[in-house]
Symmetry: C2
Subunit: 200 residues, 2 copies
C-alpha cells in the first residue's frame, strides 16, 4: 500500500473517531455543570497516566499505556456508553463492543488495525501491567470527578460506598497506592460529606 | 517529599486541568453541531500523533510528542483561546500564556514542574523534530475539522485559502507529507466547494 493510501485510511479513522465527542458519560466534569464525553475522559486519563505512572505497582511501558487509553473508548461510537453501575447494560455491552471493534479498527491499514485491536483486547483483559495500570486510572478518574463535583452523579444514581468499593477495588492490582489514596481521600471524605451511602 | 505529598500535588494539578474542558475553540467538531473544547482537541491530536508519526520528516520520540500535546493547551485555562486568525488577540496572548505556565506547572512536584514547563516551552519554540511534528498535527487538525464540518468556522470568520496557507505552511517543517496532503485533499477541494475564498 502506498504512503498516500495508508494516510487516507488513517485520516478516515481519525475523522470517524471524532464521534466519541458525542458519547456522553454519566459523570459530570469536575465543576459539575455538564456531563463529560468520551474524548474529554480519554484526554484526562492520558494526562493522569503521564503524571501518575510512578505509582503503578510494576514498571510500565508508558507509551503502550497511552495508546491503550487513547483508543479504549472508541468502540462506544457504535456501542454507546454503559454506566458501570448498570449491571444489565454492562452484560449486554460486551458483544456490542466486539462488533464495534471489528468495524472500527479495520478502517486502519492492516498493521495498525492489528496493533490497536490487540491493545484494545489487552486493555479489556486486564492481564498485563500496562492494562492493569490503565484500568486503575480509568477507575480512579470517575471517583475524582464525582468527588470534585460534589458527588452529583453518585447522588443522582443512588450509588453508595459499597458499590464504589466493589467496582473500583481492582485498582489494587494495577496501582495499590492510588487505590489507598482513593479510599482515604475520596471515598471516606465523600461518605463524611453525605455524597455516598453507607460503606460495606 | 513523600510519595503521598507528591500524589496530592499531582491530583491538584489534574483536577485544575479539568478546566480546559470549558475552553471552547473557534472550530466545530467534525459533524459541525458545536464548538470543540481544548480537552477534545488535545485528545484528537494525541490520537493523530500515534497514528501518523510515520509521516514525520524526522524520527520522533513519540512519547515526548504525546506529553507535549497532552499539556500544550493547559495555559489556556488562564489565558483563554486566541483564534489563530485574530492577529491582535494572538499578539497579546504570549504574555498571558507565560504567566499561566508559571502558575500551572508549578502546582506539580518540582521535577515534573520543570519537565512539563520545558516541554511546553519546546512546543512553543518549534525547534526540535518532536515540537515541529506536534505543531504540524496541531495545524492539520483544525483544517480537517473545518473541512469535515463543511467549512463552518472558515465561513463564519471570512477565512480564505491564502490565510489558511499562510498559517499552516510551517507544517512543511515537521511533516511535509501531511502538508502536501492538506493542500491537495483539504484546501483545494474546500476551494472547489466554496468553503474558502481565493487562494493566494
Amino acid at each position: 500500500m502506498s504512503q498516500l493510501d495508508r494516510l487516507k485510511k488513517q485520516i478516515d479513522f481519525i475523522v470517524e473517531a471524532d464521534k466519541i465527542q458525542n458519547i456522553f458519560r454519566m459523570n459530570y466534569t469536575a465543576e459539575g455543570s455538564r456531563r463529560e464525553n468520551d474524548a474529554e475522559h480519554s484526554w484526562h486519563l492520558a494526562l493522569m497516566a503521564i503524571l501518575l505512572y510512578e505509582h503503578a505497582n510494576a514498571r510500565v511501558d508508558l507509551l503502550k499505556v497511552l495508546k491503550m487509553i487513547l483508543i479504549h473508548d472508541i468502540v462506544e461510537i457504535d456501542a454507546g456508553d454503559a454506566y458501570v453501575y448498570n449491571e444489565k447494560a454492562k452484560s449486554l455491552q460486551h458483544d456490542k463492543e466486539i462488533k464495534a471493534a471489528d468495524r472500527l479498527f479495520n478502517m486502519l491499514p492492516d498493521d495498525q488495525a492489528q496493533e490497536y485491536r490487540a491493545l484494545w483486547d489487552e486493555f479489556e483483559e486486564m492481564g498485563t501491567p500496562e492494562a492493569k495500570f490503565a484500568n486503575s486510572i480509568d477507575r480512579m478518574h470517575p471517583m475524582l470527578m464525582n468527588y470534585s463535583s460534589n458527588g452529583r452523579s453518585w447522588i443522582e444514581n443512588g450509588i453508595d460506598a459499597g458499590m464504589v468499593t466493589a467496582k473500583n477495588k481492582h485498582m489494587n492490582d494495577g496501582a495499590a497506592f492510588l487505590w489507598e489514596y482513593s479510599k482515604e481521600f475520596i471515598i471516606e471524605p465523600a461518605m463524611e460529606k453525605g455524597l455516598l451511602g453507607v460503606k460495606e
